[in-house]
Amino acid sequence: MKFTARLTALPEKSLSVWISLTLITMTAFCILCFGLFWVNMRLHHYRVEVGYLQKGFSETKKLEIKNKILQVKDYIQWVTHNPESALSAAITRKARAFKAAAAKGKTASDTSFGFYSTIIRSSSWYFKIPVVLLSQDGEVLLEDLPGPEESEKDTKMRLTKMLALASASVRGEEGRVFLFESGDREAMAGLAAGSVNTHIFPGYKVVFLIPSDRVRATLQEFILDTVSRMRYSENEYIFINTIYGKALVSNGQYNREPVDIAASGSEDWVKIFRVQQQSVKYPQGLFHTYLWRKLSPDEVDRKTSFFSFLPGWNWIIGTGFYEDEIRQVIRAKRDALRNQFVQDILSTVVFFLVMSLLSYLLARHYSRRMNRNIEIFSAFFRRSALENIHINIDGLAYREFRTLASDANHMAIERRKAEEALRNSEAHYRYLFEKNPAPMLIYELGSLNMLAVNDAFTSHYGYSQHETSRMRLTDLYPPDEKADIALLTTELTGHAYIGEWHHIKKDGTTITIETHSHDILFNTRRGRVAVINDITLRKKTEEEIRLLNSELESRVRQRTLQLEATNRELEAYSYSISHDLRAPLRAILGFSQILSSRHKEALNEEGRQYMDFIVEASSRMERLINDLLHYSRLGRKSLAMHTVGLRPVLMQVLHEFHQELEEAGAEITIPEELPGICGNETLLHQVFSNLVGNSIKYRRPEVPLQITLVDQSTPDAPRIVFSDNGIGIPQEHWEKIFNVFQRLHDESTYPGTGIGLATVKKAMMLQGGSVRVTSVIGVGTDFHLEFQPG
């Protein structure tokens, strides 16, 4: 088959093939279903029919034969009571026979009355019907008087009547049977019949008569003859027996001479006849089943018969059927059904073939149309990559393909746009590559051949484009790095920064570079694009900076050490100065004291005064030296810093200054709560001592001394303000007062060494805090102290 050939020729089952297959399969399936359904229905119908036949046929047949008999009986009754037609038929038959006989013996020369009369006389006897020949005028020309046993007188009388009637009826219709009352009382109901025929002998009237004594016999003969002809099959016929055992109609034959059943010698017949005689007792008739020989073929079969008694005639009338008939019917049915089956299956097969062919043709048609569309599409897709084409939508069948084509056209347009954009973008990127100020190169993966370099590369490295096209990436690297870079390129994916490497320019100089590289598809070759950053200068600068830094560091360290040493030296110096100053001072003071106490008398007033000056100056020098020692000692001690409560230290100091404060009438205000700080208790003590001492020393004599502490701490830094109502400090001295030996007043007004506030500052600094001063002349001074939080 062409279809299967195409099917196998296809490398892969295409959609159209699938659609065709599906269509054919569906069609075949539908037809098969329909055929099966049809056959099944037939079978069902057959089963019903056979069942019906087997069960009901017998009864139906019985009813049938019964009805038949009843019909025959009705017919016989009707004929009996309406004998005209029967008699008419009899006369007509006789007349026809008579005419035929007359025609046989007639010649042209014999048209004489004599011939007619001869015919009539012979026929009248033969047909047992009286025939009268009349002239056209009704004159009796010839009469036949067949009844030999009849008396002359009777015959004449009867004939007269008949003739009168006949004459009267001459004017009646040709061939019509007319009935009339005969005078014969013994005859059946006294009824006679006659018929006038004018066409038998031209120029004469021939009257056929059935005399009343012959009417019944004629009727019987007519009935029996008619009934004997009523046979509807070879083995189904109506029989009529008289109740006295004469078989009038048997085996479908009219017995002109009735057969005596008892004398027939057939025992079966006699036996059956006895059963038939029983029907006299059953006005509804009687069914009987028995074995009886069929007429044809000559075999015995079961027969069911219906017998009914006909009282008017004293006949038993019946008919029957053989069971073989049912079998034959069923067989016939089965055969018919088988034929029907075969026919059904044949028609189903034909239908199937026709429909399959039709669906194949249909499927082929549509798949061809679809393939044509698909070819258009595939041609479009093949060529659209190269050319600017579109699908002609009008050339396509089916709405779906047209929609698809419009989408495909749209896609092609969009793709061309995208390609355009891509081309622009590629140009842009090419420009970015070629004109990039950083040297860039593209190398192929695997071979490491240089595929492209940009202008910056050629100008930076000194190689021409032509030279680089013959180089490999490793050619740029110094010998000891070639293997490493070759290995590294096999591991790079995506974007990568590979750190610092060295390149050798064409002129042989080695430069330090760092590169960023990324995968790229360059003219269908897989490679990487690398951006090179020459960091030689940067490295050099970095190195210089690093050297400078380390040099600077060492210099700073050295200088710091020097400074520290100097500092220590200075401290030791100031200390030893202070220390060594004390020895001569001690001598001066000691001996001047000894002199002024032990040798006072040896001096005059002036000498004593000078002596006192020496003592006073020495004492002052002693204080100076003590304070200096104290100050310088501050930095020499190692300091333990810990949390110290401000308030206890301050209270201690105030207690130590108890007497002086009382003398100054001091009024002291300190908050109940002062913050804890991180510091050194000794230093703190020193600070407060000096501040309190300062306040006492520089108070205004005219007012009582007031010392106030205010807590101005922030969460980060404990801060307090130590205020007095002293003489105040001019603003230009706010900074200076913290310097060593800075005095604002002469010794005689405010005795002091000028080291107190310097000590305060140093102590605060050593604790990581600070001190500054604000003051208003004649109002008071505020010392702002800030500490490290505790």
């Binding site: 020895a583 001598a587 000691g590 000894i594 002693e622």
Partner: protein, 146 residues
């Protein structure tokens, strides 16, 4: 008061020596005070060597007043030698110096000085110190059994 107690005064400063001696006198203390003017001399005295080999003329002192800052062998060295020598170890040594430095004090006590006194600036202070030395070391203090 132990009039017979011998004090060895070690000081390089003549004026201080004079003041100390004067202070003793002023305080009416008449102990025999042997004076040496350098650490070397002090060691010679204590070990009976050199010019001080005569123990009768230079007997071992009952108390040593020792200055720290001296040229050559300084007070620390002298103190160290004293405390390292069995026969001298039990002689009370009082550092009498113009230094109040913590370092000096700690070092002195570490080596084994029995007391550390600062030389007062005033003469009156000297007298007080001398008195206190006497009161404490020769009156209150119960020395080791010689």
């Amino acid at each position: 008061m132990r009039e017979d107690a011998i004090i060895l005064l070690v000081d390089d400063n003549r004026m201080d020596i004079a003041l100390t001696l004067d202070a003793f006198r002023e305080a009416r203390l008449f102990n025999k005070i042997q004076v040496v003017q350098s650490g070397e001399a002090a060691l010679n005295y204590l070990f009976g060597t050199g010019p001080y080999s005569d123990r009768t003329a230079y007997p071992l002192p009952n108390l040593i007043l020792l200055d720290l800052k001296m040229p050559g062998i300084d007070g620390f060295e002298v103190l160290k030698r004293i405390k390292n020598t069995e026969i001298l170890r039990r002689i009370p040594v009082i550092i009498l110096t113009s230094s109040k430095e913590e370092e000096d004090r700690n070092l002195s006590y570490d080596i084994g000085t029995n007391s550390y006194l600062e030389k007062p600036i005033s003469f009156q202070g000297f007298i007080e110190v001398v008195k206190q030395i006497n009161d404490y070391w020769f009156t209150l203090n119960i020395g080791a059994d010689d």
